[in-house]
């Protein structure tokens, strides 16, 4: 009954918006928390009846694949975790209940869109869910309605529309050779007529649309502006999951299961991946703004995912999916901490920070874990996924790519340590010392930080278990 992941939030939101606005404003937060925790619970227990039961007509209406594979499980888990974190942060950053009500509605719509993307097995439904997610994200970015927010939202809107137009156009072209839009039908049709220029053009623009959505270099222009302009809670959502589901997951699903791999596509993905890693890292090295730095870091990490995926081997793709999960965890962690800092000192300018660890010890120390995991320091989770990706590169004979990827993690270390040192270590500047309420924000921030840090540590420490339970199943679905 995976369709329920879309249906229940949808009807829930509709119902909540009809009568008793006042009352609903109070309980909508807990309603969302409840839905997301149910989603987490179900995704963790793969074998429950929930996943094996089809829903007949409803499934076919949403073009939902009720036999969900491990790849989708991981993504559903990430969606639920990150949305939960974003929800928790919003409870503090958006104090007005009416505003928060709107925010949570939009968040749930975005979650519906993402869940839909993950569970559908139809290219056109995929497009529809992508649009749902994109539109709700645009409104979320513009949530504060100030100049910056509107500008960021506008850029995202324009670029995202270009991407969706390209995808829609691509689907139209694909329909020239394919009798339907479901994944299996298209895959079968493409196999028969592979090498016509029109179809390759369609595939090309579809992939580029995904690159724009995923924010890969040189399609990334909108991303730093949007991440920086958005409210903290939205930055977490965007960086942690939206771009990953809309861009990266979709690319993995569509390339691996619909278009099919060939050497050209592999080399394209690996090149774009490496390019994103390097440009993202180098650009991050020179940023003065904490959120902007994290945005570029996000581009660089997405590069790793695409690089691992581009190897085309089962191990590389499993590593990429594992890195998506780890990235969702540690990047949300860093963004939560950034949000906490921004809340307390009223700016995200790194030059104005320093020594914050003394006043915000939990934020400071969880940030260290996030930083180390991002850089791939053993035994944290990020180390293992990077290791898997690099091993995959090595096994598939891409020694050059592997070497550069390893060296680039030194750059990662450089900019993140720079960030950590400027923000959390060292001495408190004079003007911050007089700030009276420079302390931990509250459980809305620290609790997610601690939980995310624990996830990072335990995934890393119990890696053999995680490898068995999550990575090997993912590997096996790519084997076919």
């Amino acid at each position: 009954m995976p369709s329920l992941l879309v249906l229940i939030p949808l009807f829930g939101i509709i119902l909540l918006n009809l009568p008793f606005r006042r009352l609903n404003e109070k309980y909508v937060f807990w309603f969302a928390v409840f839905l997301l925790s149910v989603q987490i619970l179900f995704t963790i227990s793969h074998h429950s009846l929930f996943w094996q039961q089809g829903m007949g007509y409803i499934d076919s209406f949403f073009k939902v694949d009720f036999a969900i594979d491990s790849l989708s499980f991981i993504m559903l888990l990430c969606i639920a975790i990150v949305s939960m974190v974003s929800l928790s942060v919003s409870r503090y950053t958006i104090p007005d209940p009416r505003e928060r009500f709107k925010f949570i509605n939009l968040l749930m719509i975005a979650a519906i869109g993402m869940n839909g993307i993950v569970i559908t097995k139809d290219l056109f439904s995929l497009y529809v869910f992508l649009e749902i997610t994109a539109l709700s994200s645009v409104v979320l970015i513009a949530f504060q309605k100030d100049m910056n927010a509107l500008e960021g939202a506008f850029k995202y809107l324009i670029l995202s529309s270009i991407a969706t137009i390209m995808m829609l156009f691509s689907i139209a072209l694909i329909l020239l050779v394919s009798p339907g839009t479901s994944f299996a039908v298209i895959a079968a049709a493409l196999k028969e007529s592979p090498n016509s220029a029109v179809i390759i053009f369609a595939m090309g623009i579809f992939i580029c649309g995904l690159f724009i959505k995923g924010g890969l270099v040189p399609f990334h222009g909108w991303l730093p502006d949007a991440y920086t302009a958005a409210p903290s809670a939205v930055s977490i959502l965007l960086a942690g999951i939206v771009t990953k589901v809309c861009g990266i997951y979709t690319a993995i699903r569509v390339i691996a299961f619909v278009f099919g791999f060939n050497e050209v596509i592999k080399s394209l993905f690996m090149f774009i991946g490496l390019f994103s890693i390097l440009i993202g890292a180098l650009a991050a090295l020179g940023q003065k703004d904490l959120k902007r730095l994290l945005a570029y870091s996000s581009i660089s990490q997405v590069g790793y995912i695409i690089l691992g995926f581009g190897t085309g081997t089962a191990l590389g793709m499993a590593g990429a999916v594992f890195h998506i999960f780890n990235h969702a965890v540690f990047k949300s962690l860093l963004f939560v901490n950034a949000a906490a800092v921004e809340k307390r000192i009223g700016s995200s300018d790194l030059d104005r920070m320093g020594g914050l660890s003394y006043r915000m010890p939990i934020t400071g120390s969880t940030s260290v874990i996030g930083v180390l995991s991002t850089c791939g320091i053993p035994p944290l989770a990020g180390f293992w996924s990077k290791l898997v990706i690099i091993i995959a590169l090595w096994q598939s004979g891409h020694y050059m790519y592997g070497t550069i990827a390893v060296l680039a993690s030194i750059l990662t270390l450089a900019y993140l340590l720079l960030m950590q040192r400027k923000a959390f270590f060292g001495k408190l500047p004079k003007e911050l010392e007089n700030l009276k309420d420079l302390k931990e924000v509250g459980p809305e921030f620290t609790l997610p930080s601690i939980i995310l840090a624990m996830i990072t540590i335990s995934v890393g420490v119990f890696f053999p278990f995680v490898f068995d339970k999550f990575v090997v199943p993912i590997k096996s679905i790519f084997m076919q």
Binding site: N195, M203, C208, P218, G221, L282, L285, G286
Partner: protein, 615 residues
């Protein structure tokens, strides 16, 4: 169930050590009692275990790594000897360490060392042996470290030198596993050619480093000054000899297939001879009671290595017999040194003298053990040295010569030591000095008596302990007990001893005191230069290693600067360029973003079409 008895030699000392560790320092009497009782218990246990054959095995880590123990004649003998000396040293330390603040820690380390040495000796698996062997490193460091303020440096030195030896051992174990695919010691039979030779060299280095042979010896003289005295009597004098020589004979006799005409045997004999001659020469010129003894602790290892290295029955029996004899007289000599230190307040020979009058029992013990170590008949050292000489002569005259020179210099240095400390006129203002307390005397007397017993009735130790180690087959039906077979060698030895006495008389006459009896050798033309360099640590591999590593650090520092430049200057410049580029790319205008994206899309599409249609 019966096999679990084998665990007791390891668990009982550990339990006793932990018990002591839990007691507060104030309960001095309880600590003394527990350590004494614990070591007595282990002594009883090892007597019961001696002459039995047991084995115990428990799977541990897989990959051939098992926790397996095997008790047979040889390991039972070493366990018994270790327990015996620990018991005596504990008795001695109860008196000696009375006013010392670190006595509790000392007992803990001592008992743990005993557990480790028992574990290492009983292990039938190279990895579990390695585990216990490395454990000794910790207690070694700890026991030296507690000695005083200056002992930290010495402890570090000992730790590093022993660590290097252990590293060799570890590599050797890895190679053994690589060659034969098993880690069980009793199943290993490796020919010493090719990579097997490398394994032998590495394992041998580990063994002789533990035994304190050259060139792994330099921490011992330093520790003699800095570490607590009972440590010297038990660790460098007993434990390390027992364990190191035990393992050396295991690898030479069991693990590797060696024949007397192999290069490995030659290597061992050369190391042994060099160690004998050089260490004893250094001993001769020392002016401190304990430091002089410590050089003998090194030089005597040379005899054992030489003896085992000959690989002829006489040599091996001699080497092993020398091991147990050396443990006895050397620890007893250190104990007399401790008695002198405690009663006279110093071990500096310049300040000592005339102790014979005040400490007659100590003096007698000294005389007996010094005679033993010098190889005076009929004490035990004489018989084992004769056997080593006999084996060495069988292999080559030069080795025999080294043994004889060693005997000469040993005798000379002990004449000097005895003369300076006990016979010369007293130079110490603090009079009168009393005899040492009874609890310190008992171990000394017991060991001295054993020295006499093992000499006069040498068939007891040889037939009970030593010869069964080789077995009838290897012995070829020969029996080495009783008087030495080669009377010519005995005559030469006695002449050498007389020569040493004459030399001593000459030196005393020339310089006027016992302390300076060896000055004419010390200041001989070329020798004085070498001696001075050696005393200043020029030949100390540790110092050489330190200098090399300082040089390396300087290079590394420059390299580090270069890397720093890359990070601090180069990368920042590069990243500034890239950041500027990224900024201009991200000029905030959505138009340029669109243009970039569309251009890139065009490029991607063209790339795909060109290369896929082309293919």
């Amino acid at each position: 169930m019966l096999t679990n008895v084998l665990l007791l030699p390891i668990t009982v000392p550990t339990a006793a050590a932990l018990l002591i560790l839990m007691l507060p320092k104030k309960f001095r009497a309880a600590i003394d009692a527990i350590s004494l009782f614990g070591s007595f218990l282990i002594l009883l246990l090892s007597i019961l275990l001696f002459k039995r054959n047991l084995s115990y095995s428990m799977p541990a880590l897989g990959f051939g790594i098992e926790f397996s123990l095997r008790l047979y004649h040889f390991s039972g003998f070493i366990v018994l000897a270790a327990a015996f000396f620990v018991f005596l040293i504990t008795l001695y330390s109860n008196a000696f360490l009375r006013e010392k603040s670190y006595s509790k820690q000392f007992y803990v380390y001592l008992l743990l060392s005993l557990a480790f040495i028992n574990g290492a000796v009983l292990s039938d698996n190279l990895v579990s042996m390695l585990f216990f062997w490395e454990g000794m490193l910790i207690t070694l460091f700890g026991m030296i470290y507690i000695g005083g303020k200056r002992s930290f440096k010495t402890a570090t030195k000992a730790f590093i030198i022993a660590g290097v030896g252990d590293l060799c051992l570890m590599l050797g174990v890895a190679i053994c596993f690589y060659i034969s695919g098993t880690l069980a010691i009793s199943k290993l039979h490796i020919p010493i050619s090719g990579i097997g030779g490398a394994a032998f060299i590495l394992l041998m280095m580990g063994a002789i480093a533990k035994a304190g042979s050259m060139p792994f010896h330099t921490w011992i003289p330093d520790a003699a000054i800095d570490a607590p005295l009972p440590f010297m009597a038990i660790v460098p004098a007993s434990f390390e000899k027992l364990l190191g020589i035990y393992f050396l004979s295991r690898i030479s006799l069991d693990i590797f297939e060696m024949s007397p005409d192999s290069w490995a045997s030659m290597t061992l004999m050369i190391i042994g001879s060099i160690t004998i001659v050089f260490a004893v020469s250094m001993a001769l010129i020392q002016k401190n009671y304990k430091r002089l003894l410590s050089y003998h602790a090194i030089s005597q290892v040379g005899y054992m290595i030489l003896g085992i290295g000959t690989l002829v029955p006489a040599g091996i029996v001699g080497g092993l017999f020398h091991m147990i004899n050396n443990v006895m007289y050397k620890s007893c000599l250190f104990l007399t040194g401790g008695a002198v230190e405690k009663q006279a307040g110093t071990t500096d020979l310049e300040k000592l003298g005339g102790l014979k009058k005040y400490m007659p029992v100590t003096f007698i013990c000294y005389v007996i053990t010094a005679a033993s170590i010098s190889g005076v008949p009929p004490f035990n050292g004489f018989f084992s040295k004769e056997l080593v000489c006999e084996g060495a002569l069988e292999r080559g005259f030069i080795f025999y010569l080294a043994a004889i020179i060693g005997a000469f210099l040993t005798a000379a240095s002990f004449l000097k030591l005895g003369h300076a400390a006990f016979l010369d006129k007293s130079k110490n203002g603090k009079l009168p000095i009393k005899e040492a307390p009874i609890r310190m005397l008992i171990p000394m007397i017991a060991i001295a008596a054993l020295c006499v017993l093992f000499g006069v009735w040498n068939s007891l130790p040889l037939k009970l302990f030593i010869q069964p180690i080789l077995g009838q087959e290897r012995l070829g039906g020969r029996d080495f007990s009783g008087m030495p077979h080669n009377s010519l060698l005995v005559v030469i030895t006695i002449m050498v001893l007389l020569g040493a006495l004459l030399n001593h008389r000459y030196g005393v006459k020339k310089h006027g005191s016992g302390l300076k009896a060896a000055e004419h050798i010390h200041h001989a033309p070329v020798l004085s230069y070498i001696f001075n360099k050696a005393e200043n640590g020029y030949f100390d591999p540790y110092n050489i290693g330190l200098n090399i590593s300082y040089g390396f650090s300087k290079v590394a520092f420059l390299f580090d600067r270069a890397i720093d430049w890359v990070y601090n200057v180069f990368i920042i410049k590069v990243s500034k360029v890239f950041t500027a580029a990224a900024r201009s790319l991200n000029d905030g205008s959505y138009k340029s973003y669109i243009i970039w994206s569309l251009l890139a899309t065009g490029a991607v599409v063209i790339f795909l079409i060109k290369s896929m249609i082309g293919a």
